[in-house]
Structures are given as structure tokens and as C-alpha cells.
Subunit: 332 residues, 2 copies
Amino acid sequence: MTKTILLKQRPVGSPTLSDFELRTTETEMNLATGEMLLESTYISVDPYLRGRMSDAKSYVAPFEVGKPLHSGVVAKVINSQHNNFKEGDFVSGMLDWKTKQISNGDGLLKVDGEKAPLSAYLGILGMTGLTAYLGLTQIGKPKAGETLVVSGAAGAVGSVVGQIGKILGLKVIGIAGTDEKVTMLTSEFGFDHAINYNSTDDMVAALKTACPNGVDIYFDNVGGPISDAVLFNINQFARIINCGAISVYNNTEVPKSISVQPFLVKNSALMQGFIVSNYAEKFPEAMKQLSIWLGEGKLTYTETVVDGFENTPQAFLDLFDGKNKGKMIVKV
Amino acid sequence: MTKTILLKQRPVGSPTLSDFELRTTETEMNLATGEMLLESTYISVDPYLRGRMSDAKSYVAPFEVGKPLHSGVVAKVINSQHNNFKEGDFVSGMLDWKTKQISNGDGLLKVDGEKAPLSAYLGILGMTGLTAYLGLTQIGKPKAGETLVVSGAAGAVGSVVGQIGKILGLKVIGIAGTDEKVTMLTSEFGFDHAINYNSTDDMVAALKTACPNGVDIYFDNVGGPISDAVLFNINQFARIINCGAISVYNNTEVPKSISVQPFLVKNSALMQGFIVSNYAEKFPEAMKQLSIWLGEGKLTYTETVVDGFENTPQAFLDLFDGKNKGKMIVKV
């Protein structure tokens, strides 16, 4: 049997379990030439999926109501009529939220569980790592000695951004929402300093103390009031990477913030929306660098692994409550 | 006698005449070697000066209370002990708001009243033209056929931006605050379409109608709600040049707008604060191009010339009420 998770209805505001539907069907077994049957091993849940659940104009087509959701998945080939993939291989790519599915291999990469744990291909050696590396280097253009602030720092992307910042010689300050996360950032991930925004009254002042030389690069995963506070501390020629805005994804009204324009004008600063898929030509180089650093032990990562395919929607919802540390993954 | 205008006190909110002081003193006449005595001919008043009247952190040092203000000035050499400048020459550069002053020539350029009217060196062949040309080309990176929106379009910079946009093959939409200005944009400056924001209820919809293919480049001189409306219409990979934010310069509280981050993320869009002085190495090339276009009759410009040195503060205040069409200049 095959289990599938579909989008039952478009969420309004914060998504709930009732927006999803679990369906069980007979497994399709008939493979045409060039096809293979895959069994999902790990499924990635990510904040950006929220955007695709709405039908607003965005950089990718929205999910369709009544159709399976999909995201990054690591799967095992259990039957193959495809020349490049054989039974027992593992692949990674964008696949449906299904326990089993047929694929023609388009957009799938073979991954090697000997070189790194399979789940890493959804995280540090997947879109997460690529997003962190390419966002920081391509837009942030870091120079050793500069100050980097990362919001959502204990999340999948943020924790990698901070570590890469340290490798590149930056002073790195992380912002996260619990004391436990803040401790993890400095003790496990080597951040110079971390701030718990939930226990800090005056974020502008806290950032000023943590960044006495001002902020040169801001890797922004959250948007909202935290990002406003960072703006008060940016330096001339600051670069702000807008990688995500999880704080406002569930808003039903257009969210308000301070006006960024005067800050950008005063500081000749840059803000740029970053979507990793626009940098596909840099993926091989980035993967190579990330693998080297991982092999050298310079990069570490944390995963929050949720057990059971049926729990995929809940794992997704938990992202918005910050229940994950590092990459949130479902073990099928 | 020499008349000088000083900053009497830092304006709070909107500046008023009482923030300025006119002082009359004996003219200093004793020139050291390498110095010259200048008599001001034209003085430029510009919105950005408002920022320098506050003592907030900014890209240039604030004006000092009790000291003369200064800005772009065209002046005549009336006595010279300087090797490179002789009596009768005209020069342009950043000078004090004084009818007469001594200079050592630092940062001054000789200008030729035969090639273009002297006042043009404060406008289309000065910082105004350079700002328009370099902002649009260096950050906007225009490609023929794209759609350009310009706010503050009837202002000094905006009217030049739109004309350069047309020369470069863009579709150009201007936003201004009176019917007279809107008419001027399409009839005199060749904009494809112009919108009067004061008589338009729904700017988002008006822009959607005017820009059926969306907005690729937004040259933003104003910030505030007008810029919010543009954000709803930007395309993927849009470039937003933050050249000024006149709508909020006089705010005493930090102004609020919609959150730009989700718009930038969704569209992989860029916003960049633009200060022309950061592009000084491009000035010669830009001046050459602007002179060619001016000579070919492809660029035209409008000036609002206010008579009398004493009226310089009032001319500056009038900028914030949009009383100028094109470049605001004081004839001394």
C-alpha cells in the first residue's frame, strides 16, 4: 500500500492539521522503460512550503488543492527500469509526500550513504547547505573581520550560515528564541555570541552591545521586528540577505514594519531576496566546498528527526513554533 | 560685504525659516598663495540636505549648528592667487552658502558657460544628472523593453531618470503629485504614462493598469506609501534603487511601511541604497554621456530658479511641499 499526504485546502493564516489529508491507495507497480519505483526514506519539511500552499504570485507555482504536497526527499530504489539507477540505490530530489512513488529520474541525484548519513543530503549537503553557502557568499560577499548577524540562527539554514561565517573569519552573532538554542549556537556551532529575542526587551540595544563595530552582513531568515532591530545597527555598505520571512508567512494581512528605505539610503546598503534555485550553476562548486568542510570536521549540523510518515504535517506545523533545532526531517 | 546663511538650530520634524540665520560680515579679501576669492552665482538646494541638518548617523557628517550650510554652488572667480583658476573663470563644487568666500580650489571643477547654461552644472550636468544616470545604470541595470517606475518623477533627479529610461528603450511610468506635473512628464519629458498620487485612491491598481507586464526597475526618490504600492507590482528579479525617501525625511518617529522582506524573497528582488558619491570613478564617463545626450537634444531639463541669496532657506523648504518642477536653484 502507498500512503500519500495531500493538500486538502489552502491554509488561512497559520496552517493546521485539517489543511492536510492522508490517503492510502494500492501501490502502482507497473514500470515503463526508464522508470523506477522509489520508497521514501526521509522527507524534508521547510518554512518556504507555506508560501506554496497559498495561491499568491510567487517564484514557484503553488501546490494544488487535492494533489500531493512535495519537497526534498531521500528515497531508495526498490525496482528499476532506468539505466542510471539500480535497485538499492538511494536518490535525493523533489518528490511527492508519498511512501512509494514512480519516478523517471528527472531532477534526482544519486546519493551515497557511506560518505555522509542519508539525511544529510536534505540538510547540510542539500538545499539547506547550498542556501547557507550561496546566500552568504554570493550576496553577503564576506570579508574576514566583518560582523555577521544571523536570524533564525538555530534553524537549519541559520546554523550552517553561522559556521560558514566563522570559517570565513567573520564575527558571528546569532538570534534565536530560547535559552537552549542560544547556548547551542555558542557551544556547538561556534557563534561568538547569541541573543534570545524572547527574553530581550530592547533588541536594538542588545545588538549594539553584541556588535560594537556595527553589522556588515545580515542573513535574514525571519523578517518582522527582529529584522527591524538589526537595521538600526547596520554599517555603510551593509549587505542583507533576505532568505526567508518565517515571522510573517502566516499573516493574513500585509505585515507592517519600519520603513527600510531611509536605512538603506543612509548606509548605501543592499537588501536582496535570495532563492537558492537561481544559483543552480554554482551548486557543484558549493557542494564540493561543503563536503570538504564537513569531512574536515569544520561543519557540524543538528537535525530534529520526527518518526513516521503520518507525522509529516505536524512536523511542518512545528517549524512555525520553533520546535526544531537545525534541520527538521521526517523519517518515513 | 559677505552674506552667509548658517544653521541656527537643528530642525525637529519639518524645517522652518527659524532654523536658519542670515549673517552679514566684512568680506575677507586677503588671499594666500593657492587661494582665490569666489562670488556665488547659483546655489543648489536638495532634499538630502535635510538629513545633514540632523545629527543622526549618516553617510556624511552632519552640518554644525552655528556654521554655514553648504551644497553644490556655481561661483565666479573674482580674484585669484591659484595657478589653475584665473579671474573670470566659473567653478562648480561643494561650497558654503555665502555670497563670497575664499577657496583653495579643492574639489572644484572649472565649468564652461558657453557649452551649457551655468545652472546646468548644478543639475543635469552635475550631481542631479550623475545621480540619475549612475543610479539607473549601475543598480537598475536596464534592459530594453523592461518597465521602469520613477517616483518623485517631476523632481530634479526623477525627470532625468525617466528621460534616460526612454533613451535606453524602457517603458517609463512616472509618479508625481499634481496634474500639472503629470502632464509635464508625458508632454515634455516623454514618459509613457504618469500617475498623480494625490488624485489616485488605489495606487496598487493604478500601477497594475499602467504596468501590465509588472515593474522591473523602480527608481525610488520618495519611500513611504507610494513605494509600498510599487512593491505589489514588482517582477521577479526586480531592482529597486533607493535614491531618497523625501516622504519620511521630516518624520520625528521612525516611519512604518509594509514589510518589504516577503516581497523581496518572493521575487528574488533587490533594493539598494544609492549615494552618487560612492561612484566617483564613473563620473567622467557619465558626464560625457550626459553631455552627448544633452547636445543631441535627447535630454531636456526644467529648473525652478528662485531669485536672491536670502531666499535660499525658503527654496529649500519649498522642496518638501513639491513646489519645484525639476531642479530647484537659487540665483544669487
